[in-house]
Symmetry: C2
Subunit: 157 residues, 2 copies
């Protein structure tokens, strides 16, 4: 007997390969400038009674999330693999269970290493604004810092 | 240079034993009826600009969280170890990366196995009500189901 029907099942078992019962694997949003590569999204928790949503992103080796910024924050917990993240003008190595905070209006991108996937949970407000993409001027400003230019290699080229 | 100072560091490295840089290990709330055992709490993300909070709970082998209910929901991702959870009148085995949804006003408890810890992330609304503890009548009603009675062994005895 499943007494909890309004919200769907209370328990959803993890499946191999960072998939979950009853969770759709979503193609990542598309953009004509190839601002992202090799990334999928699964919405793990989204409910009208919750003010936050929890998503799982999986980035294949060499892949990366969109370089973007927005008013809403991200709270990230790395789950598997390793790579780097850009938050503002800082580049950090990331590994399982590291925490990453992306403050409002801060450029950010997550990249898997060349030889490993990168999987992470991302908490956001359920009510949130749409991301801004960088202009060419924004990119030039970011790439003025050698560490950031090195991090952004292969994007928009 | 750490350009992000308003929110604290953007990146907090995971430490051995499911601890994090700059995250306080908090004693679990106290209760005179021993409704919980051997559990610690770490608040990983809590920010005025976020409508959700993410906490990490670690339950030692044989330990358990408080049996309680409240209006706000829980969204749980198991991170390590294994055990069981009670949600309503359902008892489920839980293992890493399983998802558990606790709907509003639903009795719930998380228990580590006798031989393993249980660590999990728990997402809640930042603005939320206080939990209700079970009355003796609530406990009797829950224990009327043999599977729930077996699950609740060792509590309030």
């Amino acid at each position: 007997m499943d007494e909890i029907t309004r919200k769907g099942p209370a328990h959803r078992k993890a499946q191999p390969g960072y998939r979950w019962d009853g969770v759709e694997l979503r193609p990542y949003k598309e953009d004509e400038r190839a601002l992202f590569r090799s990334i999928t999204r699964q919405v793990l928790f989204s409910d009208p009674d919750m003010h936050g949503e929890l998503r799982y992103f999986d980035v294949a080796p060499g892949g990366f999330s969109t370089l973007e910024r927005h008013e809403h924050m991200h709270a990230v917990v790395i789950l598997r693999g390793h790579g780097q993240c850009l938050v503002g003008h800082e580049v950090k190595e990331i590994a399982p269970h590291d925490l990453v905070t992306v403050p409002p209006w801060t450029w950010h991108q997550f990249r898997a290493a060349a030889d490993a996937p990168l999987g992470f949970l991302c908490l956001v407000n359920a009510a949130r604004d749409k991301p801004q993409l960088p202009t060419e001027a924004d990119l030039a400003e970011l790439k003025a810092q050698p560490q950031v230019a090195e991090f952004l290699r292969g994007m928009s080229e």
